[in-house]
């Protein structure tokens, strides 16, 4: 202890180090692999901090090696984890009071809950909503569609990644209490509610199924099967099909198989005239 207090100066990450980590975190998934998922990406992002905190030698090597372990979460919500990890590494380098297992435990403890928030919030809500919005405009041939999607989704992403990296770093290991306090559970629930609600709307409005078979002909007015279904409940077939596919996926059926089956159905329907 004495040597640490008298012999060594306190090392701290600079703003530049954090900026560098932020920049690197935009390439986190580059080496995604089936053995340890985002492990090397994690190490790649931590390198500026490790370089600052540990002089070449055993400690630096150990630091590099401990961030090569299995890691996987939502790529945009890794930011707070990087922040906390940096803060803990800084403390470890300065006081030696934080041990390796604490850092590993924190990473593993945070990645599950954060994936639980990130997947419904970003993949389940933000992206499909903005993409559907953009695609709707794009189908009229307007460049506004792609631009709207690209600009908005990236504004959300970069803001989150920038802010949460610093938030994690300033809060340090305190953040774990934040998570334990149930805030994460609330966020996950809230995100899932918005996601499910919007998905319900998308199923109804943004799916195109049409059965043009003529059902009735009264006074020259034709009514197709689709017209009748729509008068009962618009989007009914889409809902049934979505629930059926959801069930198939839960049974472990490969999504690509389902996709090809639906295209097969489309061709069959076109050929026999029951879909249009």
């Amino acid at each position: 202890m004495q040597t640490i207090q008298t012999g060594q100066k306190k090392v701290a990450l600079t703003n530049k180090d954090l900026n560098s980590m932020f920049f690197r975190s935009l390439f986190l998934l580059g080496s995604f692999n089936f053995e340890r998922a985002q492990n090397m990406g994690f190490c790649f992002v931590m390198i500026p901090a490790i370089k600052r905190l540990y002089k070449p030698g055993k400690e630096r090597n150990e630091a590099l090696a401990r961030h090569m372990e299995w890691f996987n979460t939502h790529p945009w919500l890794t930011a707070p984890i990087f922040g906390v990890t940096a803060a803990m590494e800084e403390e470890k380098a300065n006081t030696g009071k934080v041990d390796e297992t604490a850092i590993a435990a924190m990473k593993i403890g945070l990645m599950g809950p954060l994936a639980g928030v990130g997947d419904p919030l970003f993949w389940g809500t933000s992206r499909p909503v903005l993409a559907a919005l953009g695609a709707g405009i794009a189908m009229t041939g307007s460049i506004i569609g792609p631009l709207l999607f690209f600009v908005l989704i990236n504004a959300i992403r970069l803001t989150c990644k920038w802010y949460f990296l610093r938030y994690g770093y300033t809060k340090g290991s305190e953040i774990i209490q934040d998570m334990a306090g149930g805030r994460i559970k609330k966020l996950t629930e809230g995100a899932s509610i918005v996601g499910l609600f919007v998905m319900g709307a998308l199923v109804s409005k943004w799916t195109t199924i049409n059965i043009p078979i003529v059902a009735t002909k009264i006074n020259g007015k034709t009514q197709t099967v689709q017209d009748i279904l729509d008068s009962v409940m618009p989007g009914m077939l889409a809902l049934i099909l979505t629930l059926f596919v959801s069930w198939l996926l839960k049974k472990g059926v490969n999504p690509l198989l389902i996709i090809f089956a639906i295209f097969g159905l489309g061709i069959l329907g076109k050929w026999l005239g029951f879909l249009g």
Binding site: A131, P146, A180, F197
Partner: protein
């Protein structure tokens, strides 16, 4: 096509390929990738329309955990290239895009398996403290993901346009028309993926609520987003305030877990008051 266009197309192919694994800037989404290819080929409108059409099919395709979605990068780049160069319809574009999405998925799985080798190299470099070599391993892995889309695109660019056009035009209309119909329906697979990801039985009613609202009102997507947000806030307020009162009223009968819950909720309320 001149040499600059070819270089730019390969560049976009590489960016889309990297985007597909990184999942950051969303350059692999059809809305972005198709538009860029259209821009390079001087027919941005076709690119945008095809991008919008493919995007609607792929809404909700996502990588969760270790599961891979069908690959939109390869599908978007090559289908736009072929549709514009051979002057075929959007229907043919979908016909090309679907098998390509499957092929792209197989290729990215292949690359993600190969990367394991580079990760093991990275382990060795970490032992030696050679951080620069680890960086290289990471960058090479990313480069492989770029090549995964660039090489097939290069092969397509090398094919004679008239030959490809002949093949595309020989597809019977019942197939292209059928695929277009399928394209309108296929989006349900993405919806189902998203719904399964948020598989909480007590929240399922919100899905049906959204469905009913959309079926009988004229709200647009922004409206649905806002409405969903308000519902979420209301639900959370009711759920947590309700629990708090209950646990205060029945402290004696409440178990230790219940108490720890309520204290956590108090923290949350404090947080919300901030």
């Amino acid at each position: 096509m001149n040499i600059i266009q070819i270089i730019l197309i390969l560049l976009v192919a590489g960016i889309a390929g990297m985007g597909s694994v990184l999942d950051e800037a969303q350059t692999h989404r059809p809305l972005v990738a198709c538009t860029l290819i259209g821009l390079i080929l001087g027919d941005v409108k076709t690119g945008i329309i095809l991008g919008g059409t493919l995007e609607m099919m792929a809404l909700g395709w996502m990588n969760v955990g270790l599961a891979m979605a069908p690959d939109t990068a390869l599908a978007s780049v090559i289908s736009t290239l072929l549709v514009i160069n051979t002057h075929t319809s959007i229907g043919e574009g979908i016909a090309i895009a679907v098998p390509l999405a499957a092929a792209g998925q197989a290729l990215t799985i292949f690359v993600r398996t190969i990367v394991v080798f580079f990760v093991h190299k990275g382990d060795d470099f970490a032992q030696k403290g050679n951080y620069r070599a680890i960086e290289w391993m990471h960058v090479i892995a990313l480069g492989l993901q770029a090549l995964r889309v660039m090489i097939p695109t290069g092969i397509v660019l090398a094919l004679s346009t008239s030959a490809v056009e002949g093949v595309l035009k020989s597809i019977p209309t019942v197939i292209t028309g059928g695929l277009q119909i399928g394209g309108g329906i296929i989006v349900v697979v993405g919806y189902a993926m998203v719904i399964n990801m948020m598989d909480v039985p007590e929240l399922k009613p919100f899905f049906y609520l959204g469905f009913l609202f959309a079926a009988f009102t004229k709200f647009n997507l922004v409206g649905f987003g806002g409405l969903g947000l308000i519902l979420a806030l209301l639900y959370l307020q009711l759920e947590y305030s309700g629990k708090n009162n209950n646990s205060q009223a029945a402290v004696a009968s409440a178990g230790s877990s219940q108490q720890s819950n309520s204290s956590a909720d108090d923290d949350l309320d404090d947080d919300l008051d901030d």
